[in-house]
Symmetry: none
Amino acid sequence: MFTLDQARHFIAVAEELHFGRAAERLEMTQPPLSRQIQKLERSVGVALLERDSRKVALTAAGHAFLAEARRLMVAADRAPAAARRIADGRSGELRIGFTATTGFSLLGTLLSEITRALPDVDLTLEEQVTGEQLRALERGDLDLGLARPPFDSVLFESWLLLSEHLLLAVPSDHPLTRLGRPLREADLGDVPLIMHHPTRARYFYDLVVRQLPVEHDNVVHTVSQILTMISLVAAGRGVAFVPESARVLGVQGVDYLRLAGLAPDAVELHAIWNRNAHNPALFRALHALRASAA
Amino acid sequence: MFTLDQARHFIAVAEELHFGRAAERLEMTQPPLSRQIQKLERSVGVALLERDSRKVALTAAGHAFLAEARRLMVAADRAPAAARRIADGRSGELRIGFTATTGFSLLGTLLSEITRALPDVDLTLEEQVTGEQLRALERGDLDLGLARPPFDSVLFESWLLLSEHLLLAVPSDHPLTRLGRPLREADLGDVPLIMHHPTRARYFYDLVVRQLPVEHDNVVHTVSQILTMISLVAAGRGVAFVPESARVLGVQGVDYLRLAGLAPDAVELHAIWNRNAHNPALFRALHALRASAA
DNA sequence: CGTCATTACGGAATGCGTAATGATA
DNA sequence: TATCATTACGCATTCCGTAATGACG
């Protein structure tokens, strides 16, 4: 087998068609160059150069070898470059999980910030509920999660990305829309309620029951996705607690009302990653996000 | 700069994930292998392997380098082979990519034309979908592609080789076969449809949805290969849009029906090559094909 | 203490540069 | 005899294999 040096030497000779000048270009003397070319020819098994003491010319086989050798050198240059790009996070893959709700709040801006800062990184997106994201992060199937508490702060590191109000989505023609003031608990006396699923939408479920005395007799549906809730509200099936960002869905026939006595910014969205993560692109993305947040 | 041996050594270690076994495979002892890998990492500038005395694993950069190193070794094998081929009087190699569908339409005649006109050229055939072919053409890993639009006409030059009808493959015992007239959209009302994969068979997918109002509720399977579609049709699972050349597959129990209002010759197959290509065999082949087409 | 990667060390091979040789106009 | 590629020779480097060391369960 020949060496990359031999290929490089051959390219120089083939381009100069002169051992002396080629050697000069390679910053060496003629004799070793001569020997390396001979070795190369022996290992290839055919004559690549036709030479006498007057002139040097490529054989047909030499022409073919030259073209291949050039490709080879390009590939040889690319291999370490690719590895280095990955290692410092300038390229590679970043697998991001997000909850459906994230999709209509800040996912878009977050992605455009990442792609602007890391144009060579391939982004993979997967819609998953928080629980799935945490398992995927733990297994290393995901690099970054956009999800909600609670999660294990020993395993995971996180940032608070966004906190927003919890609002009550009601049909536009509902009497509550005409109160003209923040709602009180009493206003919800026996209004049909579309509630979050206690396990599949655990975050919202816990948030709501922690803050408000939910009348379980009022619950007419139990669903796990905000979008489904909004659709049901629009269909007049009841009212539902949703994060403020649900507004951008722009579903017709739904109003969003504020509740008195509810902690502001109650709905939190976190960026979460595994403390053991090693994907350089992740840290580069976090860095870019931190910079743009400031 | 690293050496080809180091690349070969790294590939062995990356595949075995064990220095001892890799060394055995390379017919050497562990210590020099260890040192070569260290040297390689130093020259690349990043860690390629994560290792402790218990286990060896690839880093992200290592994965990237592995892929490039494999490509490099292929190129290193090809260079002398190309030179020897020329020296033996065979005038070159032509690497042709084709889609699976091409295999049962014109690939046969095209190959026999090329071999008749260029008996001294070695042909290499690789079945690849259009996207893979384009990447391989761009890298110079392929000389000629037989694929479908769209592709970048700045990078690639092309010929329209063939355009054919899009037909509906239906089970022979299906009521539609007894209509005795071209099908209309209404005839497909709620017939189960075997559809193309939107990304892996993007060309056909786009072609179909552009020309026909596909009822997505009717889609019973999503597949990426025409042959698979035909098999599913033969098994009575539904109907499928296929190019006319699928007929030559001769699958029993399948009829091919024409559709009214569908652009004729809708399915295009192109010969595609890189504008920067320099392989003389490519131009000789194109010349021969042009002559025989006239 | 067994496994496996790494470091230490001595000998063989390889490659460079300078010097000598050979071939050609 | 001038030019240019090749062979000869001596020295430095590189690389291998064996042996020793170190880390880890």
